[in-house]
Symmetry: C2
């Protein structure tokens, strides 16, 4: 047990001491936004949360300053940031497909619409990049969640008691090499390698759907591998803008992995959101999985 403990998770990098500038958190859904607010406040930031209506619940952000905004209230948000002297912001959490009503612009928002016309013509990634660019053009610094709160990301080493078995090391490296080879095609945040071969590659379906596909192939007998042989690998694409588009795993990911009979998951340390790594490590232990951050 001593050896295992020595190799347990440690932070990816000692984050440099930051000036505790006031920070706006533009918050979508999920558990990450409230956790980011707490971690940012703990580091001395004065936090102001813009909870996107239909995604984030303002009540989840107590005791921080919070207000709900429709997407069409962008002008009001900018006015409030100016009033508060906030020049730094971070975006986190998922947004639902916006309803027509939520987009309906207030008068103070109308003047910004032309900035978004082009961004809306591409895919989701394109739109998010357009949003970052918009805020930057308005003079804001846009930070990544991992910059503000490294503790949200996968640390180096095992999150729970289990480490990746030695035999899985080569498979994990093969998986990361595969993801790197896919990067130029702007696809492939995750893959599943089992029995020394690639059994699933993620594209538009998302990680959870990919894991479920493998579970079904195993259940139907079309795919066989030794228990504790299959590994999920997950990493950002080269050049992915980690300020608005970080890969993430959560408790559901682990439950799906266990159900598919996979052995665990290897994450690119510091570059994949895990939320609360202690809690995720405990869940991994319960489920008999390894979760490991790899440099």
């Amino acid at each position: 047990m001593r050896a295992a403990r020595r190799q347990r998770a440690r932070p990816v990098s000692a984050a440099p001491a930051q000036a505790a500038f006031p920070l706006a958190i533009i918050a979508g859904s999920g558990e990450y936004p409230p956790r980011l607010a707490s971690l940012a406040a703990a580091r001395g930031h004065e936090v102001y949360v813009a909870a996107i209506e239909g995604a984030a619940q303002p009540g989840d952000f107590a005791p921080h300053s919070v207000r709900a905004y429709r997407l069409g209230q962008l002008g009001r948000l900018l006015d409030e940031l100016k009033r508060r002297g906030i020049g730094d912001l971070v975006m986190i959490g998922a947004l639902p497909r916006p309803s027509f009503g939520s987009l309906l612009p207030e008068p103070s928002t109308l003047k910004y619409l032309p900035h978004f016309a082009r961004a809306f013509q591409g895919g989701d990634d394109h739109l998010l990049k357009g949003v970052v660019q918009f805020f930057e053009n308005q003079g804001y610094r846009v930070h990544g969640p991992a910059d503000i709160a490294p503790a949200l990301t996968a640390p180096l080493g095992a999150l729970g008691r289990r480490q990746a078995p030695t035999v899985a090391r080569a498979v994990i490296e093969q998986g990361f090499a595969l993801l790197a080879a896919l990067s130029p095609f702007d696809v492939g945040q995750a893959a599943i390698v089992a029995d020394h071969r690639v059994v699933a590659i993620e594209a538009a379906e998302g990680t959870d759907a990919m894991i479920k596909r493998v579970a079904e192939l195993v259940a139907s007998g079309r795919l066989k591998f030794a228990r504790h042989d299959g590994v999920l690998v997950k990493a950002p694409k080269d050049g992915q803008d980690l300020r608005v588009d970080m890969p993430a795993i959560g408790p559901d990911t682990l439950r799906n992995l266990a159900q598919a009979g996979l052995s665990g998951v290897a994450l690119r340390a510091g570059k994949v959101l895990v939320g609360d790594s202690d809690r995720l490590g405990k869940l991994a232990d319960e489920l008999g999985l390894f979760v490991e951050g790899v440099a």
Copy 2:
């Protein structure tokens, strides 16, 4: 219409005149084995069909010489090939997971079992390579279906009236480049590119399951692309042994593509089985798809 007709399908290569050696066809299920038997006979080969029990129906091979064999009757097959002076063979069609009964070796087969012990320890690909090696070690020449009957494969150009739209050319090249990048990882016979991004990559699930996944993503609104924008690309992996493991598409593939709202399929000409290209071209026309062989 003239321009379109000028570019219609033509054979990938003028096959060299072959000495019409006697040929054994080891036949699994599907429509390819009977068609290969006819095409081989038309080229002057004296054909002997070994119909694998549980997969091929001997009656489908009239008027050629045919006999049903259980997998455990390998020794009997080899004796018959020797008796007939056949030194060349080709394997085609799918095999079901063998039942215990079908494997039960006859006395004449027992002596060959040690040859297969190692081959059975790997995956399916490994097993097929082991079977090829076994026959080669016994002095047989193992041919690929495409060598015996190039007409079974995708010709160069459009199989039906429709050609890939000009705007799709770049997308198709992107798709083939993606498959080439995956080759070193021994995965990726097919992918779907739509809206200038890769939306699905095939691994263990197979091509049809991948197409259905895209159909579901579209139906659920999670994926959007213009009608006639999405393209399936399919090609063998570099170094894939085309004698026992050729990629293939068929009528079901086209029906699934149409249902998913895809625009068509680009195939590596001469390296993907299409069975009857005229019939497949007609079906493509009915479904409003393009099917095109690309050099």
